[in-house]
């Protein structure tokens, strides 16, 4: 397994360093467009790519956990898993196994790493009023995974033929070159999560596709708008990362309204499960 891990990650990172180099030249927009068009056309569901995605997501998740303590509460973890599984009945990437955990942080945010590792902060949970809002935040994170936003940005890829990549030398262990490449990619990914954020288009895309996921799963699909309206006025350190990594609340909310209109979504449809939500949070 360690062979696999090293070789997938090394390979993907060779590619990602080329992305970084392009970005530094300032030609990133066109380059990004070309990359994303290629990815859209191919939409590669090759097991090697998926393994590379999971390997990288796992590494990144470990780094996230090392910077944020986890909230150890089995009852809440069970509840978040149940809500996530209800959404995943309508998820289009059944090849992945998704995992969810709570970060013991006042920060109002949620994070996801490739391959299906989802983290919701205690601060975000505190601002929610019902299960549909919780589902909306989880659905937004699922959308980042399912639409491969980080994977496409970093060009994480596997390689079916190790010889083609001259990977044999790395079988003995994790070479310096591979480690440096991994470090660079992890740093770039951390910047997407905590620094400059993903492309705004990816955030709008996640809002849109998560709304459709909520509606499919029978939740009140206007829940994301309700949640964003509530947290928009909040200020201070707990909002810093969310504000710097995402488009403005006003912009997100107005685009959501257009989606609701277009898709026939109203607040009258779908479950909110407010009582069940409150019961879980009071017990915990």
């Amino acid at each position: 397994m360690i062979r696999h891990l090293s070789h997938f990650i090394f390979l993907s990172l060779l590619l990602s360093s080329s992305v970084t180099a392009e970005t530094a030249t300032g030609a990133n927009n066109n380059f990004r467009q070309r990359i994303s068009q290629t990815t859209l056309i191919n939409d590669a569901d090759i097991a090697e790519d998926i393994r590379a995605e999971i390997s990288f997501g796992r590494e990144l998740a470990t780094v996230v956990i090392s910077d944020y303590p986890l909230l150890e509460n089995l009852e809440l973890q069970r509840y978040l898993n149940l809500v996530m599984q209800r959404l995943l009945q309508f998820g289009d990437r059944q090849e992945l196994t998704y995992h969810i955990a709570i970060l013991n942080s006042d920060e109002v945010n949620a994070y996801t790493t490739p391959g299906g590792y989802i983290f919701v902060s205690r601060g975000a949970l505190k601002e929610m009023q019902d299960e549909a809002e919780l589902a909306a935040v989880i659905a937004h994170e699922i959308a980042h995974v399912n639409r491969r936003h980080i994977v496409n940005e970093l060009q994480i890829r596997g390689e079916a033929d190790p010889l083609q990549a001259g990977i044999g030398q790395f079988f003995a262990g994790f070479s310096d070159a591979a480690r440096v490449a991994l470090e660079q990619a992890i740093d770039t990914a951390l910047d997407l999560l905590f620094g400059n954020g993903l492309k705004q288009a990816d955030e709008f895309d996640a809002d849109a596709s998560s709304t459709l996921l909520l509606a499919q799963a029978g939740y009140d699909a206007t829940a994301l708008e309700r949640y964003l309206q509530r947290i928009a006025p909040l200020q201070g350190e707990s909002m810093r990362v969310l504000v710097t990594t995402h488009p403005t609340f006003a912009d997100r909310i107005s685009r959501l309204a257009a989606i609701y209109q277009q898709e026939g979504i109203t607040a009258a449809h779908g479950d909110r499960h407010q009582q069940r939500f409150t019961r879980h949070f009071h017990r915990s």
Binding site: M1, I2, H4, L5, L11, L14, S18, T38, N42, D43, A44, I46, R51, I54, E59, A61, T62, V63, I65, S66, D67, L70, Q77, L82, L88, Q89, F90, G91, D92, R93, Q94, E95, L96, T97, A101, Y117, R157, E159, Q164, A165, F174, R179, L182, I186, D187, L190, F194, G195, S209, L212, L213, A215, Q216, G264, T266, H269, R272, H273, Q275, R276
Partner: protein, 169 residues
């Protein structure tokens, strides 16, 4: 660099265009999918489909696809269908025990040093805490990965209706 990039891209390109069935066949990717009479969630539901269901694509409109499923015609979310059958589950977990904690901790230690620096933490401060941090993070991740729900528990949860749903205006 180009040599390394081009072959996978070519492979993907070929695979992407390789038809796996009739040109207009599409497959349900999710465990469940709902077929509606119109391209909107407030339209009448015609049928509930299961993962792998084969439909014939008639037309597409924004995020909706008009499809024929058995003898019915209706609309399904385009997010749920693809021209290829659903991918089988992929996992790294087979043989994962062969990666010892010390190996992965050593490797991650270096990664996190950089990560911490990127986030404004002093590298020396980060390094001092490193051994324990990484080992603990890795074990916590494994715990998250091992968590699973019982089938009965999940089915019960999925079947529970929101009793307050009808009361909302």
């Amino acid at each position: 660099m180009m040599k390394k990039i081009v072959p996978p891209l070519l492979t993907l390109l070929l695979l992407g265009f390789h038809p796996s069935g009739s040109a207009s066949d599409v497959y349900l990717q999710s465990l469940q999918g709902r077929l509606y009479s119109q391209p909107a969630f407030n339209a009448t539901m015609i049928d509930e489909l299961q993962k792998g269901a084969v439909m014939q694509l008639i037309s597409q409109q924004k995020s909706w696809s008009e499809v024929r499923y058995q003898n019915k015609e209706g609309w399904i979310s385009s997010y749920l269908i693809k021209a290829t059958p659903p991918t089988k589950p992929v996992s790294l977990l087979t043989g994962e025990e062969s990666e010892s904690i010390s190996d992965s901790a050593r490797r991650r230690a270096s990664v996190v040093t950089t990560a911490g620096a990127a986030r404004g933490l002093a590298a020396s401060e980060r390094r001092a805490r490193l051994g324990d941090d990484i080992r603990r993070s890795y074990l916590q991740l494994r715990k998250i990965e091992r968590f699973s729900l019982g089938e009965e528990e999940l089915n019960h949860f999925l079947a529970t209706q929101d009793s307050a749903r009808e009361e909302r205006p």
